[in-house]
Amino acid sequence: MTDGLLVLSNGLYFRGHLLGAPMEATGEVIFNTSLTGYQEILSDPSYAGQIVTMTCPQIGNYGVNPEDMESGTIHAAALVIRELSLVASNWRSTQTLDDWLTEQRIPILEGVDTRALVRTLRETGECSGLIVPVDSQHTLDMLREEALALPLMVGQNLARRVSTRELYAWPTEGEVRFRIVAYDFGIKHNILRLMAQQGMHVTVVPWNTPASEVLEMQPDGVFLSNGPGDPAVVTEAVEAVSQLLGQVPIFGICLGHQIFSLALGCQTYKLKCGHHGGNHPVMDYATEKIEITSHNHGFAVEETSLPNDVRVTHRNLNDQTVEGLESLTHPAYSVQYHPEAAPGPHDAQYLFNRFVTLMQAQGRA
């Protein structure tokens, strides 16, 4: 076993040993508090450019399987965990996590005091870091300098990196009730699966598709997907959405929500410590009910920047951040978190029904 280090741009470092593909990795170091769902997390394009620390100490227990993929491949830069499972035990498992990551050339830093790492990130904020094998050529100071030189998440357009290059169709299961165009900023398969279940035929388009091209397709609704990186620099998409506003019902999730808010004239900011987990309480002000939701966002919408015709529909009860918006002028709404779950609770899946209702209210069906 190769000893490995995670060196943070704040100068701190954590020891472990390298498993998976024993290679170097760089990225923004974040932690996720989900107890299950490592496969969905690793294959979720929103984690592009991130070194994912799982707070759950035993990872890999149930292996991986083809059904639980959230995209075609792994997007996270590396995985940091306390203990990798000795075996994979589950009736659906087709491969061990270790083998999968090795095959996909992603390193695992195992044996880390992940709790200490989380406490550090919680206090100092999420920062960049690099994973390297311990060798004699690199001193700790050299590695710290290297970590400090890593690009920050702020200002990075990662949607560009993970988005599809060509448009493609995700057919509905059964009768087509709605035709949807989905902007792919890093779309998760479960969003597409759920939309398909609702009778939506989805055309997935690249992140920078101009509004005119979308409107030419005459969709019943436009969906803005989740994705990685800083929303503020995905300017082509913001521009396109602002042109689509009022033309067609819009529903956004995660990065899609942030892009939507920017198009409405709001501002976004980087959270000191992002929300990544499956246990976040969110209040839906429409029903005053609380849903336990899946989160994965490092940026959020600045509430003070909201124009008068934009209303907060959902809020995180842990830190009061804005989790959902709706336009009072246009048929459009969005949520910061993940109603598609995968991984996470299914409490917020009604938001897909709301999309249906919204489109129906607009006379589209």
Binding site: T55, W91, V118, K289, A341
Partner: protein, 1074 residues
């Protein structure tokens, strides 16, 4: 929604005595609920019959009733206290059943009392077998199919639609006797016809088998706005087929992917909504097919439960406390997270460690019961351990057990005859309390995981963990001390290996390992249990150890005291000691010190992080205690309140220079060591029963002849009278001797004169080192020979002369002063023909402390703690006073749980719990205690059975006459009937013991005609009959007396308080403000 303002007074019902399946977790939950309701400004009225509970401490709520949980008592209390609402979900099945009875009989409606926490409809839907099944069907969830049949043909017909194997369970039989698993129609035919014969209702349940499926549990909470959260997921290491209370369980669930887990979560939410639990916690159990993933619902409990207590400890989320707040109208978002204070309680805890619970069994006490786990719970306690990985947490749990194991020790094959592989195969297929050690040994012997899995149905994930530990053990042995490096040692500690196990494997001493670790700086750090995987800062100091980088436990500079808890509940050491430890924590905090608690029992109040200033959830072993001592540097450690668990460590701690507070360690030894003890009594000129010590059979026979029979035999250093017994002949002595030597080869057997007919008295003292004062005097109701923990007793004594009482006090005081008792001391006396004998002296808190404290209104454990911290009796202003009321303690037994166990009482302790009855007279107190155990049975039936041995027959005459005067009809065995008839009692019905006869006792019992049984038969010849009777009694849960004294007291009290309507109920006096 804010809290309800239309409620003023809330009645809460506790769970009564500790029994298997319903233990002190309900004191933990109930105490939390009481505190939560008080915090909200409600007036709280509490009813519980169990005095050994924190919840019944006077002053915790506004009116505390230690009274039987029977309809009459509840109604009278309702009339007296006028509650607006009843919270029935905190006292286990006992409270739920009582509440349902009250609702069904219109009592609540009559007095305008509302249900809060759960509606009767919801309870009915969740608890009723058919109602629940229908509810599950209506929301599309599957359950194992089953049917109740009263004919073999019906069973065979059912089998046509349900695949084999089928489980057959006769209704209402004990320990599942008469049931079995049928793989073929022939087997089904045989088992069902057998089952129908033994079932008193001639009914058996035939059920689809899901043996070997994976078992899961979710803890769910819901508020009145329909917000639902899952607090914890639990996965059983043991498959379906072993009761979840008897299973090793792990949190969080380990082998479910997110997709599967979320499906289960959705089901749990749907069940909560369908059943209609609208405010509070519930648990839902699921079975999952290991190869197809098919999910079935097993059951749900619409109340806090054993597993909710475990989940609370496992996550830091106080389910009972929150459930109580939801019950009065709050919603989850309105309640802050108890640990982070900043985030709301409406969330799902994320944990960054692994929790393992291992149950503790006592099969050794019930030698006729096979050590075989099944669908009926048999464990009496449990331990929980927290580690960062399963392996670490599992091994920590193993060494917390206090069963002599320090890890995956090599199991003992000597009890099993046959070739090891064949023995193993059987042991893996038929799980016993020892199964994990045999699983490990099978892997150690090179068996494949597949083979072990096929036999045991344990998930491969767990087997891989155990395999890796076995492999690590081999590496440790191979490496040896000389080749070991600090890195290796650290890695092994990270896997959870105890120093003791490492020492064994490395063939060095434990102190060598411990020393080396300190030299190499291989030391644990402490991590916080914070509900949120460190995502948010938290204040609550609830810690566990692990071998990692960062230590989060930063001790303060304040002076502090470490309390060592009592570990897992077991027969002989139960909730009473936890009660004492909790009181110590309260007293320490009141004095301005920091109280640090160390314990590993998740059921307890002591492991509620609210109890102490800092809680360490750790094994109570020398290794683990020393780490905490070295980190926290307390001014002293309290070892005298947690029973044998901390006491066993006293010597090692003393030698390591740790300051033990209170009575000096030497005094413990002087009282425990037989020779020193004899010397002590000689010095004080006190008497003990004649005795001797035998290291061989010949010596024993010789001593026996010198003292004369009957004799009391016991191995030295025992707890709860383990393996203790009386012998009436040399022949019996020989039998016992062979057995005792196998119990503890290095310890000799102690032989005592058995004081026939003596009265035993338990006396508690408080001492400050210079002075000693009486704490309480308890007169036993059974004669000497029954273990003091199993005897009923009364405080104050009702039949002892003032001279005797004076003598007891003088002798006890002399002992306390000589032993420099600082804190508590318990002395057991026997009085025979005016002569006082010392049976035993324990210079520590005994299990009597809570009872005495409740009966006398004096918080003895708190006083003891203050004394240990330097207060004097004079300074405390403590004076012993004789209470005006009588209080009777009566015990409850687990015999019904153990197939084939005899219910006879003897010198080996067998009870699991106690109740207390209070009254203005002895008779009222005694009868209330009986009512607390046998609930409504008292007045229903009109016959009393008497069957006694010859020597007791004459004494039964006045007993029988009394009963006849009260209008009872006597039914008796032939011999007893003859004697009674000769003394003029007429209309005696002779009965036979064998079932099937027209006049068999069985039929009388079956028809519900028997109100009481008196049976003292002990002779070998009659023993089969006696055993049979006692099994029947257990079966029908009737009051029964196995001693003449018991019968006399019962009948005497019965005459005055035969029906509960003569009881008067009073709340405990409130404590004076200190």
């Amino acid at each position: 929604m804010p809290k309800r303002t239309d409620l003023h007074t809330i009645l809460l019902i506790g769970s009564g005595p500790i029994v298997i399946g319903q233990a002190c977790e309900f004191d933990y939950s109930g105490t939390q609920a009481c505190k939560a309701l008080k915090e909200e400004g409600y007036r709280v009225v509490l009813l519980n019959s169990n005095p050994a509970t924190i919840m019944t401490d006077p002053g915790l709520v506004d009116a505390t009733y230690i009274e039987p949980i029977i309809p009459h008592a509840v109604e009278q209390i309702i009339i007296q206290e006028r509650p607006d609402a009843l919270l029935p979900t905190m006292g286990g099945q006992t409270a739920l059943n009582m509440a349902m009875w009250l609702a069904e009989n219109g009592i609540l409606e009559k007095h305008g009392v509302q249900f809060i926490g759960a509606t009767p409809e919801a309870i009915c839907k969740a608890e009723g077998r058919n109602e629940f099944r229908e509810a599950m069907q209506s929301i599309g969830l599957a359950m194992p199919t089953s049917t109740v049949v009263s004919a073999v043909e019906d069973a065979l017909a059912f089998a046509k639609t349900t695949p084999y194997p089928l489980i057959v369970r006769p209704s209402f039989t004990l320990g599942g006797s008469g049931g079995g698993i049928a793989y073929t129609p022939e087997q089904l035919h045989n088992i069902v016809s057998g089952g129908l014969t033994v079932s008193p209702t001639s009914e058996v349940l035939v059920e689809q088998s899901i043996l070997g499926w994976k078992e899961y549990e979710l803890e769910v909470m819901r508020d009145r706005k329909d917000n639902v959260v899952i607090i914890c997921s639990i996965e059983n290491l043991d498959p379906m087929g072993i009761h979840t209370g008897d299973s090793i369980t792990v949190a969080p669930a380990q082998t479910l992917s997110d997709r599967e887990y979320q499906v289960m979560r959705d089901m749990a939410l749907a069940i909560m909504r369908e059943i209609g639990v609208d405010t509070g916690g519930s648990n839902v159990q699921f079975a999952v097919h290991p190869e197809t993933g098919e999910v079935m619902v097993i059951e749900m409990n619409p109340r806090v439960s054993r597993s909710s207590a475990l989940a609370s400890k496992a996550t830091g989320f106080p389910i009972a406390k929150i459930a109580a707040k939801l019950a009065v109208g709050y919603t989850l978002d309105e309640i802050p997270n108890d640990i982070t204070h900043k985030t709301p309680a409406c969330f799902e805890p994320s944990i960054d460690y692994v929790v393992t619970k291992i149950p503790r069994f006592t099969f050794e006490k019930f030698s006729t019961t096979p050590d075989l786990l099944g669908t009926q719970m048999q464990s009496v306690g449990e331990v929980m351990a927290i580690g960062r990985t399963f392996r670490e947490s599992f091994q920590k749990a193993l060494r917390s057990m206090e069963t002599g194991t320090c890890g995956l020790d090599e199991p003992d094959y000597t009890k099993h005859s046959g070739e090891p592989d064949a023995v193993l195969e059987k042991l893996l297929q038929y799980p016993s309390s020892q199964r994990v050690w045999f699983v490990a040994d099978a892997l150690r012997r090179g068996w494949s995981e597949e083979r072990v899995q096929q036999l045991s149905h344990i998930d491969p994930w767990f087997l891989a963990q155990i395999r890796s530990l076995v492999t690590a053990e081999r590496n440790i042995r191979k490496t040896g001390r000389s080749d070991m490096t600090p890195v290796m040692l650290r890695n092994w500690k990270r896997l959870g290996f105890s120093d003791e196990r490492l020492a064994f494997l490395l063939e060095v001493t434990v102190s060598q390992v411990s020393k080396l670790r300190r030299e190499w700086n291989v030391l644990p750090v402490y991590k916080l249990v914070d509900t949120c995987a460190a995502e948010f800062p938290s204040e609550t100091p609830y810690f566990y150890s692990t071998y990692e980088e960062e230590n989060e436990s930063l001790p303060t500079d304040a002076p502090k005291v470490l309390i060592l808890g009592s570990g897992p509940n077991r027969i002989g050491q139960g909730i009473e000691f936890d009660y004492c430890c909790v009181h110590a924590a309260f007293a320490i905090r009141e004095l301005g010190y920091e109280a640090i608690m160390l314990n590993c029992n998740p059921e307890t109040v002591s492991t509620d992080y609210d109890t102490s200033d800092r809680l360490y959830f750790e094994p109570i072993t020398f290794e683990d205690v020393m780490h905490i001592v070295e980190l926290e540097r307390p001014l002293g450690v309290i070892v005298q309140l947690g029973g044998q668990t901390p006491l066993k460590l006293a010597k090692a701690l003393d030698e390591a220079g740790v300051r033990l507070l209170g009575t000096p360690f030497g005094s413990i030894d002087r009282a425990e060591d037989r020779e020193q003890f004899a010397e002590l009594l000689r010095k004080l000129d006190l008497k003990q029963p004649r005795n001797g010590m035998a290291r061989s059979l010949n010596e024993a026979v010789q001593i026996g002849n010198e003292i004369g029979y009957p004799l009391l035999l016991r191995p030295s250093y025992v707890l709860g009278g383990r393996a203790m017994m009386t012998t009436h002949s040399e022949e019996q002595l020989k039998e016992f001797f062979a057995e005792a030597l196998s119990v503890a080869p290095e310890h000799p057997v102690l032989i005592d004169e058995f004081l026939v007919g003596a009265v035993e008295v338990d006396v508690d003292f408080l001492g400050d080192g210079e002075r000693a004062e009486l704490g309480g005097i308890m007169e036993h109701i059974e004669a000497a020979g029954v273990h003091s923990g199993d005897s009923a007793c009364v405080l104050p004594p009702h039949q002892l002369s003032p001279e005797s009482l004076r003598t007891l006090e003088e002798q006890g005081r002399a002992l306390a002063l000589e032993l420099k008792v600082c804190g508590l001391m318990n002395v057991q006396f026997a009085i025979k023909e005016g002569e006082v004998y010392i049976i035993e002296v324990n210079p520590r808190a005994s299990r009597t402390v809570p009872f005495v404290s409740k009966a006398s209104g004096q918080p003895l454990a708190k006083y003891a703690t203050r004394l240990m911290l330097g207060a004097t009796l004079e300074g405390l202003g403590y004076r012993y006073t004789v209470p005006d009321d009588y209080s009777v303690k009566e015990t409850v037994f687990p015999f019904a749980r153990f197939a084939g166990a005899d219910a006879e009482l003897g010198p080996e302790m067998k009870s699991t719990g106690e109740v207390m009855g209070r009254g203005e007279s002895f008779e009222e107190a005694y009868m209330k205690a009986q009512a607390a155990i046998y609930s409504t049975k008292l007045s229903d039936s009109r016959s009393v059975f008497i069957g006694v041995r010859d020597v007791d027959k004459a004494q039964m005459v006045p007993v029988a006459q009394q009963l006849v005067r009260q209008g009872y009809r006597i039914i008796a065995t032939k011999g007893t009937a003859n004697v009674l008839e000769q003394s003029g009692i007429t209309d005696i019905q002779c009965v036979r013991m064998q079932p099937g006869h027209p006049d068999s006792l069985h039929d009388f019992l079956h028809r519900g005609e028997v109100a009481l049984l008196i049976n003292t038969t002990r002779s070998r010849k009659r023993k089969m009959d006696a055993t049979h009777i006692r099994r029947l009694v257990l079966h029908y849960n009737l009051p029964y007396c196995t001693t003449v004294e018991g019968a006399q007291h019962y009948v005497q009290s019965f005459a005055k308080f035969g029906t509960p309507d003569r009881f008067r109920y009073a709340s405990l006096p409130m404590p004076e403000a200190s």
